[in-house]
């Protein structure tokens, strides 16, 4: 529970309430100087409680407290409200805004009740007359007087400041505010003071007023509240705990295979291979064959090699020949056909290229096969009659033999005489003489 005023604020307020000899207008100025606008609400609340609970015993204190309440009213809005209410249309407009409490000074009803002399706080008609004068004429001469200048026992003295003509219509104001009051929740209206007098005996000393007030100046009132049972925690249902199944299934976007007539790898390969035996394949086709063979090397098992096919393959598609021959040579049945076919193949650049690749790519390639192929090469040179073509062919054969020798694939000892004869026969060609020197050096 927080109190409305701090100790020092309460002391300042009480000092103001003691200003009996200061004119009201001057008290008003002091109020403005002492308290900031943020403190005004707390001051008004405190004064209302002090007034209601009988903490203000002296008449001057009560009058000053009423004046401060009046002084802190935003009085302009009160008169605006009075003028507006005369116009029906504006009144309707006003009705829409009536929820906006800022238009209504919150402590005005307290003053109206006192002015109407029907409020339970009011003990004295003098006070109601004083409030009525203030509300009717905020610039009344009465406010130039000080509290002790007024005869607080004689109401007649005040009447002179309150001519009939200028009297405010309290009934109208009261009706308007009762309409507003209807919007205040009933639950806010049932509170009572939280302090109960509980005298133990006639003795005892009174506590300092400020100490007592500290506990009583609060907006909180004692009242019962609607009992609101809180909802209990929702019972966890059977599957509420999340069980995580270990999943290693990686879902990937799908490749649409419906784009072309989907053939199996087998069908595609056979089609391409057949084509390769008869004609030169395009670059992508050759690549496709290589890819299929890389993925499924066993696919070739279903194909049988024939001498003619291999001869054609080597001649027309040397690039893929090596890949195919390599796999064919793993099969005993195809092996001999392959070697025979290769030996019967015409010696060309393509066939030499394939044999060269085979010699380096396949371990344990029979030396006899290589020797026989080299002999074929040498013979092929002799069979060419065109000098230009012959010399070109000799150069190719020399390069081929040199490559075999460099890779130590050729059995030079067994072929030395044949090779030397070939070199001497074509010694006019520089490559052959170079090869001769190489052979000589290797034999040594």
């Amino acid at each position: 529970m927080t109190t409305l005023l701090q100790f020092d604020e309460l002391s300042k307020l009480q000092q103001l309430l003691q200003e009996e000899s200061t004119p009201f207008l001057q008290i008003g100025r002091k109020v403005s100087q002492t308290f900031t606008s943020e403190q005004h609400f707390s001051i008004c609340c405190s004064l209302t409680i002090m007034f209601r609970e009988g903490f203000l015993k002296k008449k001057t204190e009560r009058i000053i407290s009423l004046f401060i309440l009046f002084k802190l009213l935003p009085i302009e809005s009160l008169f605006q409200f009075e003028n507006k209410s005369q116009n029906k249309e504006e009144e309707n407009l006003y009705k829409d805004k009536k929820k906006d409490n800022s238009i209504f000074p919150p402590f005005l009803p307290v003053l109206i009740n006192i002015a109407q002399n029907n409020h339970k706080y009011n003990e004295n008609q003098y006070e109601s007359c004083f409030v009525s004068i203030c509300l009717s004429d905020p610039n009344s001469d009465l406010l130039k007087e000080s509290p002790d200048q007024l005869n607080l026992t004689n109401i007649g003295d005040l009447e002179k400041f309150y001519p009939q003509s200028s009297r405010i219509n309290l009934k109208d104001l009261s009706n308007k505010f009762s309409q507003i009051e209807a919007n205040i929740p009933l639950t806010n209206k049932i509170g009572i003071s939280p302090s109960i007098q509980d005298p133990e005996n006639e003795k005892g000393s009174k506590l300092a007023t400020n100490d007592l007030l500290q506990y009583q100046l609060t907006t909180n009132e004692f009242k019962p509240s609607f009992v609101r049972p809180s909802p209990s925690l929702l019972k966890p249902f059977d599957n509420e705990l999340i069980w995580i199944d270990y999943e290693d299934e990686t879902l990937l976007p799908l490749w649409d295979q419906t784009i072309s007539i989907v053939k199996t790898n087998n069908d595609q390969f056979i089609t391409l291979l057949k084509k390769a035996f008869t004609s030169q394949l395009s670059q992508p086709e050759q690549q496709q064959i290589i890819v299929i063979l890389e993925n499924e090397p066993k696919i070739l098992k279903e194909c049988k090699a024939t001498s003619e096919n291999i001869t054609n393959l080597v001649e027309k598609n040397p690039t893929i020949s090596f890949e195919i021959l390599k796999l064919f040579l793993q099969d005993e049945e195809n092996k001999s056909i392959c070697f025979n076919s290769l030996l019967n193949t015409k010696v060309t650049l393509h066939s030499m290229e394939v044999i060269n690749k085979l010699s380096s790519g396949i371990k344990n390639l029979p030396k006899d096969f290589l020797n026989r192929y080299v002999s074929n090469c040498i013979s092929s040179c002799r069979e060419i009659y065109d000098k230009y073509i012959q010399s070109r062919h000799v150069r190719l054969v020399c390069a081929f033999i040199r490559s075999l020798m460099n890779n130590s694939k050729l059995d030079i000892q067994s072929m030395s005489s044949e090779l030397q004869t070939f070199c001497l026969e074509f010694s006019r060609i520089r490559d052959a003489s170079n090869l001769f020197r190489l052979i000589k050096s290797q034999i040594k």
């Binding site: 609101r228 809180s230 966890p236």
Partner: protein
């Protein structure tokens, strides 16, 4: 094209995309072919990045769909749509993925069988994960009829599905059937499927042995899942044998440790293992031990987060699920603040589950109760008197004031700075980037309203599906449901509270709004039929009812009687169980009091009084195995006493002090020492000007003896 495919399967994505680009250049005029080539190109580019740029891939696919959707059918764009769905699924945008797959399912007859199966399978997986049981059952029968029938007609159609694939797909389908059975608590059925799966597995192993294929000893995904699911069967089974399950789990972990395959390094295995162990412990009523395992699961899971940010790793990250379990554990351990943080983490992926929002609201409320109890001075008799001041004849008793059920948690949310978000610390674990909102009643209110909106939406969908199956379906109906779903989607806006780096990917799916749509709450009417729900969907009904109850309660705490009344009225329209009906009537009555309508309040209170008390008490006992915070107010016949006190309160508002005092006397006979009853009695005496009687009452109950003692 086949070459491109070969290159693609060899993971030579650069060469494959070059090949496709060449083909695109050569192709003209054939839209179907261009779509396929473009989608392949996009796929190659996506795979080239190691699947780290899913957004770019999705954008390309969206572009393709946009460009060609006018001229081509859904079937023509099937693969593109499926690939969109799969990426969305991996990014955990389940709603969007489901919508895309649903469009494929409608055209399943015209799709390539391979695609048709995969799309239906994924949709089934999604349905099970989202607990859409009826839809899942429909999809299973669709798959079985469409793809696994052995009659000759279908054989022709299924020519695309190779036998080997078909076997694999049968196993995949069985796995999902097990999951579904477990979701529906049909344990016997699940065990049956597990046995079937085991048989298939044994047969395959036998075949492998016979064929002397090398992979005999390889531990496959299937065995792992099989073991886990078998264990789950045992856990969920009514003849629950938790110890056995635990031993099995440990046994499995040892097998994994000893396994020479790379799987031993898989963080996702360990995260799922510890998580499941935690579940077993919690089921075994050992929340402390469960919490230990959940934390270990989170640590194992954090390894996945540290890995490369690929879509695959993202989909393996089960942080949200483990965090939800941890939150549940913490809430049961009465640690709402920690639980709140974990539930917020869980929201990242589970934001469309109403239960998460309910738990979040509950965390706020538990914290609110704790703070209220700390502040609540009327909680005990000796605090009814705040202070006694003065001595002798100046002695004055000051009564306690201004404390009520609203004085707990702050109403307004506090903004959390970026630094706070980054360094959000959950226990001894740090999770960078998990947003943490502050606990407040405002947040609780939003969470409760989100739970209402989500469960309402899901129930509407279920209702629509039920209607669809019960009546003769026609083509028009499907489109109507679609429209309904679309409008619901527009209405249904979840306030997104959480966002972090990774989760930004899902931003578009979560609709951002600062205001929850409360139109449905305002009129307090409902158009959902909750009577014909399956056993499984009952939990959704519970979520809806509890969400409404929480929302009504929180609205009262936030001093918003209008929404409190409307949500309580809405809840009453759903014919809730007696416990919720009792509370809803009370909340509605309090709201009426605040709205200056004591007559209506009286009606609501008398309705709550009519409810048979034993029903309420039965429900309030809570589950046997789990420790539930049950407010003391609900003990014994306290509910009647509360009703009497509230009736007296309404009569006080109506200035009928005499009748009010009769009710209070009745309450006082039931609970003479209750501070709330005493407070009402003292108030009545004071309002009647009987200060002395009030003081005697206070003294007779020793209301301020401790104060006097302390003064002396």
């Amino acid at each position: 094209m086949n070459l491109a495919h070969q290159l693609f399967t060899q993971k030579k994505y650069n060469e494959a995309s070059q090949q496709i680009s060449t083909l695109i250049e050569k192709t003209s005029g054939n839209d179907k072919k261009i779509v396929k080539l473009k989608s392949h190109l996009a796929l190659c580019e996506y795979m080239k990045t190691g699947r780290t740029q899913p957004e770019e891939y999705l954008e390309t696919l969206n572009g393709i769909v946009k460009q060609f959707s006018k001229d081509l059918t859904t079937a023509d764009l099937g693969y593109v749509i499926y690939n969109q769905a799969i990426v969305n699924y991996q990014l955990k945008r389940y709603q969007r993925a489901a919508t895309q797959l649903e469009s494929l399912r409608k055209n399943v007859g015209s799709l390539d069988p391979y695609l048709g199966f995969e799309a239906t399978y994924l949709l089934l997986k999604l349905s099970i994960e989202n607990n859409h049981i009826s839809q899942a059952n429909e999809l299973i029968s669709l798959i079985e009829n469409q793809f696994f029938q052995t009659n000759t007609k279908n054989n022709q159609k299924n020519s695309g599905l190779q036998t080997r694939n078909q076997n694999k797909n049968r196993q995949r389908l069985l796995m999902l059937k097990i999951k579904l059975s477990l979701c529906c608590s049909e344990h016997n059925k699940a065990e049956l499927f597990v046995n079937q799966l085991q048989e298939i597995k044994n047969r395959n192993l036998q075949q492998q042995k016979e064929n002397q294929i090398e992979k005999i000893n390889e531990k496959t995904l299937l065995i792992e899942n099989l073991s886990l699911n078998m264990m789950r069967c045992k856990i969920e089974n009514s003849k629950m044998n938790l110890e056995e399950a635990k031993n099995n789990l440990w046994g499995l972990s040892k097998t994994m440790e000893n396994s020479k395959t790379e799987e031993r390094n898989h963080s996702n295995f360990w995260s799922s293992f510890y998580n499941n162990l935690g579940c077993v412990e919690l089921k075994n009523n050992k929340p402390g031990s469960a919490l230990f395992y959940f934390k270990k699961a989170l640590l194992a899971n954090s390894q996945i987060c540290k890995n490369e940010k690929t879509v695959n790793n993202f989909s393996k990250d089960k942080r949200s699920e483990i965090m939800y379990n941890t939150g549940l554990c913490l809430i049961l351990l009465e640690k709402p603040q920690n639980a709140f943080q974990f539930f917020q983490g869980a929201l990242v992926c589970l934001y469309n589950r109403p239960r998460v929002w309910i738990r979040l609201a509950e965390c706020c409320l538990l914290e609110h109760f704790r703070l209220t109890k700390d502040k609540e001075q009327v909680g005990s008799l000796n605090r009814l008197v705040k202070k006694v001041i003065g001595q002798g004849k100046y002695r004055t008793v000051i009564l306690q004031t201004g404390i009520g059920p609203n004085d707990g948690l702050n109403i307004n949310e506090e903004s959390v700075s970026f630094e706070d978000i980054v360094s959000s610390n959950v226990g001894d674990l740090q999770f960078h980037g998990i947003p943490v909102q502050s606990m407040s009643l405002d947040y609780a209110s939003k969470a409760a309203s989100n739970s209402i909106l989500i469960s309402e939406k899901l129930l509407k969908i279920i209702n629509n599906q039920n209607q669809k199956t019960s009546t003769t379906s026609n083509n028009n109906k499907n489109s109507k449901i679609d429209e309904n779903n679309k409008t619901q989607k527009n209405e249904f806006k979840i306030k997104k509270e959480n966002e972090n780096g990774i989760e930004k990917q899902k931003n578009k799916e979560k609709t951002n709004t600062n205001h929850t749509n409360l139109n449905t709450l305002k009129n307090g009417k409902t158009n959902i039929d909750l009577d014909n729900l399956s056993k499984n969907d009952q939990s959704l009904k519970q979520d809806l009812e509890h969400g409404l109850l929480l929302f009504s309660y929180i609205s009262l705490c936030c001093q918003n009687p209008v929404t409190a009344l409307s949500s309580a009225k809405m809840l009453l329209n759903y014919n809730p169980d007696p416990y919720r009906e009792y509370l809803a009537n009370l909340y509605a009555a309090e709201a009426c009091c605040l709205l200056n309508n004591p007559n209506l309040a009286k009606e609501y209170i008398s309705q709550s009084l009519q409810k048979r008390r034993y029903q309420v008490e039965k429900l309030l006992k809570g589950p046997k195995n789990l420790k539930i915070m049950s407010p003391k107010e609900y003990e014994s016949n306290w509910s009647d006493c509360v009703t009497l006190l509230n009736l007296a309160f309404v009569l006080i508002l109506q200035n009928d002090i005499q009748t009010a005092s009769e009710y209070i006397k009745q309450a006082s006979r039931m609970f003479p020492n209750s501070p709330l009853v005493l407070l009402s009695c003292v108030y009545l005496e004071l309002s009647n000007g009987n200060n002395q009687n009030a003081l005697e009452l206070l003294k007779s109950c020793h209301a301020f003896y401790p104060l006097e003692n302390s003064q002396k």
